[in-house]
């Protein structure tokens, strides 16, 4: 299972990097979103998958799943949400001010 998920994250990273390298600001934003999805999955995998029960004390289980990566991911999800929101509004404002969201056209503008 772990190998399968790692292969999936690797693939997600590739697509994310490809999107990051494109000229359109919107694609770049979707790329960052994809990249964080990949990282979340990776973090979870590093703690071992399906190795125990839900990490809530009192559940009838012999062992608990590693809770630490979960806590980290929870933080990451929320932060990622904040960053994406800011990015989006920034892109939206940039488009409003400059009339383009193509990065090569944005280069060298007066208020760069």
């Amino acid at each position: 299972m772990e190998t399968l998920i790692i292969l999936l994250t690797g693939f997600l990273v590739s697509v994310a990097v490809y999107l990051l390298l494109s000229r359109s600001l919107v694609r770049v934003i979707i790329g960052t979103s994809l990249l964080s999805h990949a990282v979340h999955l990776l973090l979870l995998t590093m703690g071992g998958l399906k190795k125990g029960g839900v990490p809530i004390i009192g559940e009838k289980t012999l062992a608990y799943t590693d809770a630490l990566p979960q806590a980290l991911i929870l933080t990451a999800i929320v932060i990622n949400f904040g960053v994406t929101a800011l990015f989006l509004v920034l892109a939206f404002r940039t488009y409003q001010e400059t009339g383009t969201e193509q990065l090569d056209q944005l280069r060298g503008m007066a208020d760069e």
């Binding site: 299972m1 772990e2 190998t3 399968l4 790692i6 999936l8 690797g10 693939f11 990273v13 590739s14 697509v15 990097v17 990051l20 390298l21 494109s22 000229r23 359109s24 919107v26 994809l34 999805h37 990949a38 999955l41 990776l42 979870l44 995998t45 590093m46 703690g47 998958l49 399906k50 125990g52 839900v54 990490p55 009192g58 608990y64 799943t65 809770a67 630490l68 806590a71 991911i73 929870l74 933080t75 929320v78 932060i79 990622n80 949400f81 904040g82 994406t84 929101a85 989006l88 920034l90 892109a91 404002r93 488009y95 409003q96 383009t100 193509q102 990065l103 090569d104 060298g108 760069e112």
Partner: protein, 807 residues
């Protein structure tokens, strides 16, 4: 007792209050308040003279960064006392002089803050016992010197001069720091006193055999030579003359430039007796002496002339210290005492130079301020108008030229005696090269004589040329004359009573430089003006004769055509700096394209090259797949859905599809969270994904239609390769990390959360209890992002509103 600590801190503290005082007493020249600082310090230090003369040394320690063994140790001994007295004594005179030199319209608060900063830094340099603390104060003096040179920062030359001095002295300072660290590696301590005690014990461990001995010596000398303007680093000093004249008199002739001399004198017990040290210190000193005096003669600007003369005099002191260090080669016997006389002469000349050069700088300042020029070609015949100034100039110049009855005569004679002793040496290949010492010294002294005469006679005698002056010549105000008069009096007094100075200040200092010699043999020196008709006297007479001839008969100055300005070291430095700036700006422009994609390419290429390179170089890490848990069919189908969704994103035609596909990925991950026993994550992911998708859709309503990527195919291929490589590397590393368990997991600790926090949900407990601070900061990040979003939208609305109003 903390007196000396306070002495260092006092000027720095006083600097803090300068702005308040200047505001409170706006109609009084702030210099009058500042004057109290050096006076108090001087009087404090004077109290130490008798006990230091008895051979006492004061050591006080205050821990500064005790974890690293850095203590703010103060060492007050003979050597530091001389410097302390010069710094505070000349400080009094310079501040007094500056009150008349700088009018109230100038930025006086800045000036005096910088000056106090320097005073504190310089006192720190000479009083500290710890090498790192010394370095810190050393840089404080460099910085304050920079600020003072650029005091009239609206002038281009001031800024350039300040830049040059900072570049040269600070790079020397950094080299010195590395040297200090090497000394620490060799000696195991940073305390000067302990290092000197270590090398002075016989038979102690000799540092000279250590492989770092020579590199440390070279680096420290680099620091000393740059600070003390030794050839070829002297070029910053003439450019530093853009500073106001009180600064030139104080920093750039009497004190700061002597920091290098101080360092060499202080470290003589450690490095002295070594052939390389001898040759570098005395050789560089002699070259500086000759080149400085030779170049000084061609100057037409009086201040530049004085600057080169300072360079040359610093070289003289440096060479004397070099010759004196030979004493340590001969061990601690009586025959060594002979050579210590050179060091003694160096200290004596150090004091003398501070007096006569200080007076001369002040004279030039008076002329410059009064007449609006300091170009010797426009000056002349001022004696009748400025008799007092003339007298001071005469005393200063004649002392510098080495004529009696002024103190310069005494130290010049001692200098000649020292080079003659050096010639007779039969070590360090001096048998062959020794003759150069007296020859160079004598030649340089002739030039010194010539430029000293230029200062007096071209300025004050000859024809008065009122049509070439901006103001009419008249004597300076009394207040301005006090300081140079005091110094001129000292010049004469030191000639008649040199042994007072010698007994109370110079001999204790000698005992610091040669501690063992002093205890075993006793270092007693008497300075005599007349010691019969001997070689040194003949040399002085020769200097006067040839010097007069050269001054009268100027055609020899055609020699200077062999050294055109264009090829001077100064220009070479400027030009190479210009080329470096141009080159680096070109280089930066070449890769800082302002295009986001390029920066991403750098980042990912760096990742690929460094991580992938390490992978190839070290060989692949082991990968095992044995610990894997089972895979179910529905899981595989979920993975396939995600792959398909991700793969489709770059290719879809409409942006709505892209957003939805991104949503598909997010929800699929939420599914995985459920499968992987993470209910909290699944919940959060669902909520966040929902809101994100809505946000995307909202924004996309305003954003343009998704265009086909307009990039050429070649770029796309490159992007694809980079993306592929990044993904592959990522996978490989993740697989290898997953295969190994380097250490025990810390997670079982959190399973006790029930007892520890009363919270049965482990993930919640980690977030809200164990890492509560982290979570709080995370909330703040969200808040900031929220404010950012709000402002971005709101600002636009306001602008729109304003625009509507205007219409």
């Amino acid at each position: 007792m903390l007196t000396i600590h306070l002495a260092i801190i006092f000027p720095l503290l006083a600097a803090l209050f300068v702005p308040f005082i200047s505001k409170k007493f706006a109609n009084i020249h702030i210099g009058w308040f500042i004057l109290s600082v050096p006076i108090i310090l001087f009087l404090t230090l004077v109290q130490f003279i008798p006990s230091i003369a008895m051979g006492e040394t004061y050591i006080y320690s205050v821990p500064w960064i005790p974890t690293y063994g850095i203590h703010f140790n103060i060492m007050l001994d003979g050597l530091s006392l001389i410097f302390g007295l010069i710094i505070t004594g000349i400080g009094i005179l310079v501040v007094l002089y500056s009150i008349y030199y700088l009018s109230r319209e100038e930025a006086l608060t800045h000036f005096y803050i910088y000056l106090l900063l320097f005073m504190g830094g310089m006192l720190g340099v000479v009083f500290t016992d710890h090498l790192l603390v010394l370095y810190a104060f050393w840089e404080v003096t460099s910085l304050s010197s920079f600020l003072l040179i650029a005091f009239w920062y609206h002038r281009k030359m001031s800024r350039l001069g300040a830049q040059k001095s900072l570049l040269i002295t600070v790079s020397g300072g950094v080299a010195m720091l590395v040297g200090f660290i090497m000394v620490y590696i060799m000696a195991g301590t940073m305390s000067l006193r302990e290092i000197i005690a270590l090398v002075s014990t016989e038979p102690g461990p000799s540092l000279a055999d250590h492989p770092l001995f020579v590199p440390a010596m070279l680096l420290i000398l680099l620091g000393a030579f740059t600070k003390s303007a030794q050839f070829p680093f002297h070029i910053w000093l003439p450019r530093a003359m853009e500073a106001p004249t009180p600064v030139s008199a104080y920093l750039h002739s009497a004190t700061m430039v002597k920091a290098g001399i101080y360092l060499v004198a202080r470290l003589t017990p450690i490095f002295g007796g070594d052939g390389l040290w001898f040759w570098l210190v005395s050789g560089v000193g002699l070259i500086t002496l000759l080149w400085g005096s030779f170049t000084a003669v061609r100057q037409t600007d009086l201040k530049a002339l004085l600057a080169y003369s300072t360079v040359s005099q610093l070289g003289l002191i440096m060479s004397l210290l070099g010759i004196g260090s030979v004493a340590l080669y001969f061990g601690q016997g009586p025959q060594s005492v002979l050579y210590t006389q050179a060091t003694f002469a160096a200290l004596f000349h150090l004091v003398n130079h501070a007096t006569f050069k200080g007076a001369l700088f002040m004279v030039v300042g008076i002329v410059d301020l009064g007449l609006g020029t300091r170009d010797v070609r426009r000056l002349g015949g001022l004696m009748a108008f400025m008799p007092v100034t003339f007298t001071i100039a005469l005393i200063g110049s004649f002392s510098m030229a080495g004529l009696p009855p002024f103190n310069g005569f005494l130290s010049k004679e001692m200098f000649f005696a020292a080079v003659l002793e050096a010639k007779a040496l039969s070590i360090f290949s001096m048998e062959t090269w020794g003759i150069l010492f007296p020859v160079l010294a004598w030649t340089a002294s002739i030039f010194t004589f010539v430029y000293s005469m230029i200062i007096v006679f071209r300025t004050f005698l000859g024809k008065y040329k009122p049509e070439r002056l901006e103001h009419e010549a008249r004597e300076a105000p009394v207040g301005m004359l006090i300081s140079p008069l005091v110094l001129a009096t000292l010049v004469v007094a030191l000639f008649f009573f040199p042994n007072v100075l010698s007994q109370y200040l110079l001999q204790p200092a000698m005992e610091t430089i040669f501690p063992v010699l002093a205890t075993e043999n006793g270092l007693i020196y008497t300075i005599k003006a007349w010691h019969g008709i001997d070689a040194t006297l003949m040399m002085t007479i020769g200097v006067v004769l040839v010097g007069t001839l050269l001054y009268k008969w100027r055609t020899w100055q055609g020699v200077y055509r062999l050294f055109p300005e264009r090829f001077s070291l100064d220009r070479v430095f400027d030009h190479s700096l210009f080329l470096i700036e141009k080159g680096s700006s070109k280089l930066t422009r070449a890769y800082m394209t302002g295009f986001l994609r390029d920066y991403y390419v750098y980042i990912f290429l760096f990742f690929i090259v460094v991580v992938g390179g390490t992978y190839l170089w070290k060989g692949p890490l082991p990968i095992t797949l044995l610990q894997d848990s089972s895979v179910e069919v529905y899981e595989v189908s979920l993975v396939l859905v995600m792959v398909a969704a991700a793969l489709a994103i770059p290719f879809v035609q409409s942006r709505i599809t892209a957003i939805l596909l991104n949503g598909v990925l997010g929800f699929a991950i939420a599914f995985f969270f459920v499968i992987f026993r993470a209910p909290d994550l699944a919940l959060t992911q669902l909520v966040v994904e929902m809101v994100t998708t809505v946000l995307f859709l909202l924004c996309f309503y305003y954003l343009p239609e998704w265009k086909k990527e307009p990039a050429p195919t070649r770029t796309k291929v490159i992007n694809l390769i980079i993306a592929g490589l990044a993904g592959v590397l990522f996978t490989l590393i993740a697989l290898s990390v997953n295969s190994g368990a380097l250490f025990e997991s810390i997670s079982p600790y959190f399973e006790k959360t029930g007892e520890l926090t009363g919270n049965n949900n482990i993930v919640n407990a980690i977030l809200a209890d164990f890492r509560a601070f982290d979570t709080m900061l995370e909330v703040i990040v969200l808040l900031i992002a929220g404010i950012g979003v709000y402002t971005l939208i709101k600002v636009r609305a306001q602008q729109k509103g304003e625009a509507d109003l205007e219409n």
